[in-house]
Assembly symmetry: C2
Homo-oligomer: 250 residues x 2
């Protein structure tokens, strides 16, 4: 007894299009193809189809499904499945983290926050600075920085989020008053700047001065910090230089 494509489709819950597709990629070849082109399936193919659908529903690609069935009595099949399970577990964990991040993003939006990565930083995969940071300072430095972040307390994290804006605003006020960069009030703010920077890495004297210069040189930092006021960024750089020369070791 042979079944037509529609009969097989109905009884297995897939469409005839799917069966034709499986034929075209050689995954499930009909028992017989009549001279008029019609496909006919037998018990053997029905059994194979069940196995295909079982494995497909496990999330395997059709390629892999074919391989597993071909080696179904050998060790290979088990290995493939075990590897696939590993993958599933990882995916599941990844989705769990995503749920957290989506939650954080929603939270942030509700409070009227902007949708910027800084605000949703936690558990976040695509840090917008990371790619460039790795290129500019190397993988080692970036990894070390992440390592350090993992040891943060709640207070550290709070500081990392809020301190820079405080410093920038404070400096803007002092600069407006004409206070010199060597003044203690300025240097105290730079002290805070140095502390929060140290949450990520420990700048030496020259490195800290270089950081200040980079703020000036890099358009994006300049914009972010000065918000249009380029002189403020230069003020910050000068203050950092003074701080580095007076307080930091080589």
């Amino acid at each position: 007894m042979a079944w037509s494509i529609a009969e097989v489709a109905r009884s297995s819950g897939v469409t005839s299009r799917t069966l034709r597709h499986y034929h075209s990629i050689g995954l499930l070849v009909p028992a017989r193809v009549a001279p008029n082109g019609r496909r006919y399936y037998e018990q053997e193919q029905l059994l194979r189809l069940q196995q295909i659908l079982l494995l497909r529903d496990l999330g395997l690609s059709l390629d892999v499904v074919g391989e597993v069935i071909a080696h179904r009595d050998e060790q290979d099949a088990i290995e493939v499945l075990a590897k696939h399970k590993e993958w599933l577990v990882k995916e599941q964990l990844r989705l769990g983290r995503l749920v957290q991040t989506v939650d954080a993003t929603i939270d942030n939006l509700k409070r009227g926050g902007e949708m910027s990565p800084e605000n949703v930083f936690e558990g976040f995969e695509h840090n917008p600075y990371e790619a460039e940071a790795r290129e500019r300072w190397g993988d080692e430095a970036v990894d070390a920085s992440y390592e350090r972040m993992r040891g943060w307390t709640e207070a550290d994290a709070e500081k990392a989020r809020t301190a820079y804006p405080k410093v920038h605003q404070g400096l803007a006020a002092l600069k407006a008053e004409g206070v010199a960069v060597t003044d203690l009030s300025v240097q105290e703010l730079i002290q805070l700047h140095y502390e929060v920077t140290s949450l990520f890495w420990t700048p030496t004297r020259e490195a800290y001065k270089g950081l200040g210069q980079m703020y000036v040189d890099d358009e994006r930092f300049r914009q972010n910090i000065g918000n249009g006021d380029d002189a403020l960024v230069e003020y910050l750089r000068d203050a950092m230089t003074v701080y580095a020369d007076s307080k930091l070791d080589d």
Copy 2:
């Protein structure tokens, strides 16, 4: 200050191809396109790109990313994200179940079992009989059956897996000895057959007789049960008819 495509790509960690793609689908249009066709981006586009990558990494499609950013200050965006979170949670649960099923499949293969859905039935999504069952008996009956299965004990599940083969083998032996279908030994096996069938649904007299007839009429049941011995299936049907008439209510 304008950045070239390669500069933007480096600083954001995507490829220039991706940026061109985003331009071609209108997701991120450069600030300026020079007469020679070159793309130039400004701060505004960099910010937008960061938002795009943030949302993309949350697992949203680019279509949806565009929508969310367009409505980023409205309630819509939050709703979309909330819906997306629901989806993520569901996916995560689904993957969890898949892990279980893969495990069960591996286990089964290790013991030399066949890779058939009956053996890995638990938590399984694509029951090969379900589609046809829904068509043949209706959604209501199938759903009721699933409802009943949810109340199974371990013993019930064991019975459901093993009883039918026992019945078929027992009947084959008795038939070979020339025992009549009315004989008590046959009827005891049918009693077991009725019990296990009742784990799924409760057949009335006529329904049970109809089931026996279907075993004979349907090629696949006939093959599955008789394994080539069509007379055995008819023997089963006759025995079921006798049982129904003597024991079952209308």
